[in-house]
Symmetry: C2
Subunit: 364 residues, 2 copies
């Protein structure tokens, strides 16, 4: 541990799988998770050492104590947890593994913090394919490398067949503040601009289509991605003018903006014509009668920014692959405080409400 640099700067920022060699856990096509893999005995140790440590290994994780000791940091900490139960576990654009990494990385990053450490807690169902588990573990490793976070501790439990569903993953993240800005919805002011980093509803409609076996003319895929590097660019140019950030996951853009409006005591007015939606996703939403504003995204962010930095932040977003289609979609107003409204294409105005219950279960 003495050799571990506390600045975290040597963490890979691109995928590098060449150094991992062959997984030492011999897995054949029909091998499955057994109850013994969660026992705390030798089968557990083999799974941990030969699969998880092989994939995630770093000086902190390799220590394998009940808790990991992280080097002191001078700043406040951001701390966030999320459990992932998405069904299906593999889908166009990702799987439950990289979704779990990206989801918590994004939750940490929305506070203005730099995500640094993740824990991984897996609940496996007896009988789950070890080949699939290995694919998921590799996706976790790759997603962590892209997001520049280290997986430093973990836990594995196994439940009997029929008492879980293949795999559930909890990720909990710690971030540090490398810059002074703390985006928060209570910093939103009347006149601010509402930006979005790209197209809406890609993740949710992909999951729904895959689950229901729907085929569309143009393929659609989840947008699951880690947004922390994009946010760093935005904060660089926008500084304190970046008022609030949110990744519109469950509940979609509608839920995120309603929370903003309520917290800040302001109105938010969207321009329907400006909201970016891929034609195939729009078609799927129309076909199924679903409002894309209510659908989960997993690689998009909403930013509320001061008007004087709006152009610069938008340019910074567009310079990042994950913000290439960033656009302004609305304005913060003093009217209709606590509510989100939308100017429609035909000149009307409608209220954008939160859903009461469930539209798409197990979306993430």
């Amino acid at each position: 541990m003495a050799n571990f640099p506390s600045d975290g700067m040597d963490v890979n920022t691109e995928i590098n799988t060449s150094g991992f060699g062959t997984c030492p856990l011999p897995i054949s096509d029909h091998d499955t998770v057994q109850l013994g893999h969660g026992s705390g005995g030798q089968m557990s140790r083999e799974l941990i050492q030969d699969l998880f440590v092989w994939a995630f290994g770093n000086p902190l994780l390799d220590d394998l104590q009940d808790s990991v000791v992280l080097p002191a940091v001078a700043s406040d900490l951001a701390f966030s947890t999320d459990s992932f139960v998405v069904d299906p576990i593999f889908f166009p654009g990702g799987n439950i593994g990289n979704l779990a990494v990206n989801g918590t990385v994004n939750d940490v990053a929305m506070s203005g913090a730099t995500p640094r450490y993740l824990s991984i807690g897996m609940i496996l169902e007896e009988g789950f394919s070890l080949v699939d588990l290995k694919r998921i573990v590799e996706s976790i490793r790759d997603a962590a490398a892209i997001a520049s976070v280290q997986i430093v501790t973990g836990d594995t439990k196994v439940v009997d067949k029929g008492k879980g569903d293949k795999v559930f993953i909890n990720t909990t993240g710690i971030g540090v503040f490398e810059q002074p800005v703390r985006p928060r919805p209570d910093r939103i002011r009347v006149g601010d601009h509402v930006l979005i980093s790209g197209t809406l509803a890609d993740h949710g409609m992909t999951i729904l289509s895959k689950r229901e076996g729907l085929q569309f003319e143009m393929p659609i895929a989840s947008d699951s991605a880690a947004l922390n590097h994009l946010i760093a660019r935005m904060l660089d140019v926008g500084g304190e003018g970046v008022r609030a950030l949110r990744d519109p996951t469950r509940g979609g853009v509608a839920a995120a903006l309603n929370e903003f409006a309520e917290t800040a005591g302001v109105g938010i007015e969207l321009e329907e014509g400006s909201i970016p939606i891929l034609p195939a996703v729009r078609g799927a939403c129309e076909f199924l009668g679903i409002d894309p504003l209510h659908v989960a995204n997993e690689g998009k962010l909403i930013a509320v920014v001061a008007p004087e930095v709006s152009e610069a932040v938008l340019s910074a977003m567009k310079s990042d692959t994950l913000g290439a289609h960033a656009v302004r979609i609305g304005t913060v107003t003093s009217q209709t405080a606590g509510m989100v409204t939308m100017r429609t294409g035909i000149g009307g105005q409608r209220i954008v409400d939160m859903l009461v219950g469930e539209q798409l279960p197990r979306i993430c």
Copy 2:
């Protein structure tokens, strides 16, 4: 948040439920978890605000952002995660809620850190009783108060009926180092004493008996408890002489000591006659043909200590309710390096091995 003291000293150290008032979520006997409770919409918000925030509320949690901002601390951090899938969820001596708090508190504390913050991630099964959920939430609150930790962030997911099992809970904890000692198994030396804080196998045999519907003459109960205050007493008097600490959960004392012996490259010799086991638990183990050394404990610790502080540490342990039956059970030797052996009552010696697979699934 400005008013939140960063030293955490005002956290309750005893149960105080009088200040909580009535749960604002109206729950009748037949109310159950719905998919909508995990949607991110209004049902989710009600569950979070009216049950979780009501029970756990504190200035950090109340903020309800995607991640919580924790005040800077000067020390290294301890970080640990654990998912709990125990079956049954209610058992003599506890339930999945306080087990989940105590388990992660203990994992953090075994590194010598003071547990301070917890996240809670719940995976609920559609149809799970809201009355039972409320009982579990109240147990989480009470266990956190006893352990002097704050629940600062959380997440709730709902899976469709038959795809989970009532409730799974992930807890992830952060601790800070308030004293310089870092107990670790690689600090163990030949001649050290092996202490245990109390009787073995209470938790595991309680779960097994409850699950199998076994009745014994004397009732048995789980030992689930937070050991951080006990450890603070031990470190106060033992200092650097406290070489290593471990809570022998899954895999029991046998797995914990085998890991110690292997990591430190030493032998560990136990005295069978000194190992404390309640008569009722011993009877249950004999009846079922189970070695109590392999059974999970949830409120016990093993300490390896230098011989010169052994008496003082043992006294400190006995002065705490949770260590009242603490006793020395063995010695670290230079023989049989990497192995754990036991001197039996009749003068023989046997190897104490780790189990390969599963003895008792879903014990925690």
